[in-house]
């Protein structure tokens, strides 16, 4: 069997040294994350069945309470607990390094747990029906703000802990350049530090106001500071998802990034510029000038978007390169047809890449322009966009990664493996339909955070019924049906993970499907050390990826052009 020390153990599958304290903390964070995912998922179903107006399941007050809770539980609690698990993994286990200060990790976890529980209870008991954004002068119970602040402090400590571990491993000489996976997680940590501080700057005065120690909070300043957290946290998710993409690609196909430096520079573009796009939420606000908006909304002339475009190319490119080397080199797309589609991690990678890129990313960039925001702000387009990025993108990728990390760390066999093969596709299909339905409804002007678009309680002389346009009913039905399918996918995931943790057969060598054994090793696959680049007749190494990427760009340009055309059709002049 394998060496089982009290401080570290050697993983029999990957050869990595697993620090025991890190292992326990990863487990704690991961389990908590999945619990919040399940809670948020139940809320998601009930909310979707209410926005699907013919069903209209929840009464108004419950609906607004649940939308508030769903937002915070999913956007912050589920995802940050999972990401902290990833940060611990990337800074210790993946580096085969020791965790330097376990007490700090446990303190961080405790604060995050306590704060999130208090905040969630406040929201579900109706004492904090202020939405995830908690805009003053809307006021919640002080316990809500206190809970979120305590959570934020815990998360900040967790991020600091990540840096301590990485720096210590560097000083001990155990690592020179970080693995690309950890490098991207480090970017996520930097983005997280900035966004948590920005959020604390917004929420601390608001907390003081809620207890009467401060007379008022300027709503414009609050929004500026808050969205540093609100949107900034989503950029943390983006960076962590990119890390997961590279990781899954290496795990399932043996992919090695075509150009290490290019991928890292693309990540640095995130570090420098991506938080500026918090401005996207402020484009129809009073108080902000044209150029402070233009420079920030564009992530500095779209520098960060170039970063995303680089990853969108590099990851499929690395997969293509690896599969061509495995012998599937014929033609443009044989490698794609022969890719491991039945491997849960690969399915999750592709679903995540496609839905994030095509639906999430493009819609975000389009709506993030000052003029197009006029027809998008606070319509259902906004949640459609971020469900494609955070749910179809980041959450799907995280699910895929956990199909490997959970068996490895908990040392149990994955249960219901056949379901795991299908789960990313089921979830992805549901989210695709949901996103299309919600996005089209939003494009047709349907408002977000709204309980009744038939305005049934409004006097007839003022009333309008958005459902008078029959296509809107179709879009909302698509939203509801997509949500149902996605929730099935979510339930499958929770069952598999919980089942594995609780019932999976204990083993030091869990079967992991088509896991590429040398994924964790720096030993080059080719004897001699140097990998000659093999190009085709035109000098291209990855022609299939080039064609796919160009196709993506054509779609981008098309959707971009259509959006401007739609804006020009608005029958009012606005200056």
């Amino acid at each position: 069997m394998q060496a089982s020390g009290t401080l570290q153990r050697r993983c029999a599958v990957t050869g990595l040294w697993v620090d025991r304290a890190a292992e326990r903390q990863i487990m704690a964070h991961a389990v908590t994350a999945v619990v919040y995912l399940a809670i948020g998922g139940v809320l998601a179903l009930l909310i979707a069945l209410t926005r699907w107006q013919v069903v209209h399941l929840l009464p108004a007050q419950t609906f607004y309470e649940f939308v508030s809770a769903h937002g915070m539980v999913m956007l912050i609690f589920w995802i940050l607990f999972f990401e902290l698990a990833g940060l611990i993994f990337g800074s210790t286990v993946l580096l085969s390094a020791r965790m330097v200060l376990p007490a700090l990790g446990w303190l961080a976890y405790g604060l995050m747990l306590g704060g999130s529980v208090v905040a969630t209870v406040m929201m579900l008991s109706g004492q904090a029906t202020v939405m995830f954004t908690s805009y003053p002068p809307l006021r919640a119970t002080p316990w809500y703000y206190a809970g979120v602040l305590v959570f934020a402090v815990g998360a900040i400590l967790g991020v600091v802990h990540f840096f301590l571990n990485v720096v210590a491993a560097r000083w001990r000489g155990e690592v020179g350049s970080l693995p690309l996976f950890t490098f991207a997680l480090m970017a996520a940590a930097i983005l997280a530090l900035w966004c948590l501080l920005s959020g604390a700057a917004a929420l601390l005065p608001t907390f003081l106001w809620s207890v009467g120690l401060v007379s008022s909070v300027d709503p414009g300043i609050y929004r500026l500071l808050y969205w540093g957290l609100g949107h900034g946290a989503q950029q943390v998710n983006l960076a962590a998802m990119v890390a997961t993409w590279y990781g899954l690609a290496s795990l399932t196909t043996g992919a090695k990034p075509l150009n290490e430096g290019l991928s890292r520079i693309a990540i640095v573009l995130y570090i420098l510029f991506i938080q500026m796009a918090a401005m996207h939420h402020l484009l129809t606000d009073p108080g902000l000038g044209v150029w402070v908006r233009n420079v920030n909304l564009s992530y500095f002339m779209y520098a960060a978007v170039m970063g995303s475009l680089i990853h969108a190319f590099s990851i499929p490119g690395a997969v293509e390169r690896a599969l061509r080397e495995r012998g599937y080199g014929a033609g443009l797309f044989t490698w794609l047809r022969r890719a491991p589609w039945g491997e849960p991690g690969f399915g999750a990678l592709v679903v995540s890449l496609l839905l994030f890129g095509v639906l999430g990313g493009i819609s975000g960039v389009i709506m993030g322009g000052p003029q197009l925001n006029l027809i998008s702000h606070n319509t259902l387009l906004v949640p459609a966009h971020f469900h494609m990025t955070v749910v179809a993108g980041t959450t799907t990728a995280f699910m895929g990664l956990s199909y490997y990390l959970v068996p490895l760390l908990f040392q149990r066999e994955l249960v219901l493996r056949r379901w795991a093969t299908w789960q990313p596709y089921v979830f992805g299909l549901g989210m695709l339909l949901f996103g299309l339905g919600m996005g089209l409804a939003g494009h047709w002007g349907v408002p977000r955070r709204h309980w009744d678009i038939t305005f049934a309680s409004v006097p007839a002389a003022l009333r309008v019924n958005l459902l008078d346009r029959p296509e809107i009913g179709v879009f909302l039905a698509l939203l509801g049906i997509g949500a149902l399918i996605a929730v099935v996918g979510g339930v499958l995931y929770v069952l598999i993970i919980v089942g594995t943790i609780v019932l999976g057969r204990r083993t030091a060598t869990p079967t992991l499907g088509a896991l590429v054994p040398e994924a964790f090793s720096a030993v080059p696959a080719v004897a001699g050390g140097a990998e000659p680049a093999r190009a085709d007749a035109h000098g291209f190494e990855v022609p299939g990826t080039l064609v796919l990427s160009l196709g993506f760009l054509v779609l981008f340009v098309l959707l971009y052009g259509i959006s401007w055309y739609e804006l020009s059709r608005v029958p009012w002049q606005i200056r």
Binding site: A249, A255, V305, H450, A522, W572
Partner: protein, 183 residues
Amino acid sequence: MATRFSSLAKPQGVWWRALGRDERLWVGIAVIWGLAMFVMITAIWPLIGEQQNWIRSYRITPAEFRARVDAFIAAYQVGERAGVPVVAPPPGGDVYLEALSFAWRPVIQLRRGETYRFLISSRDVQHGFSLVMAPHSINYQILPGYVTEVLLTPEQAGEYPIMCNEFCGLGHHLMLGRIIVTD
């Protein structure tokens, strides 16, 4: 010569290398597209577009803004809808619009083809001004303590409801105003 490494492994030695042909092509395209989008929103559309985002802003207390709205109603009221005053301001004039939990005040009557200076604020919490012009809507975030000023010119007659699309309390979905545009 640089080797390639799995993203989960520690890269060894010198991994910095020149871009291959594929990468150079794609990065070039990405840079061009990024700059094109930037030029579109900062230069091209501002020159040719009829819908611009040039919000002018002021500070005001909710009480003072409410007084302006009351004066505006008193000066130009022409009727009533469901208890809300209907106001017909002169073309080229100021239009005061107040958001409150849970109504838009007043109802506004405009002439097609004329330009009006809309001044919008909130009496209490944040609201979302969402002017329905099916199949789209025009949207602004309305903050108490701030005035949002925009120049609007309706080019089509009809009735345009104003929804609220920022959660403002339990009566959020009861907020419905109206702009009437006559020929």
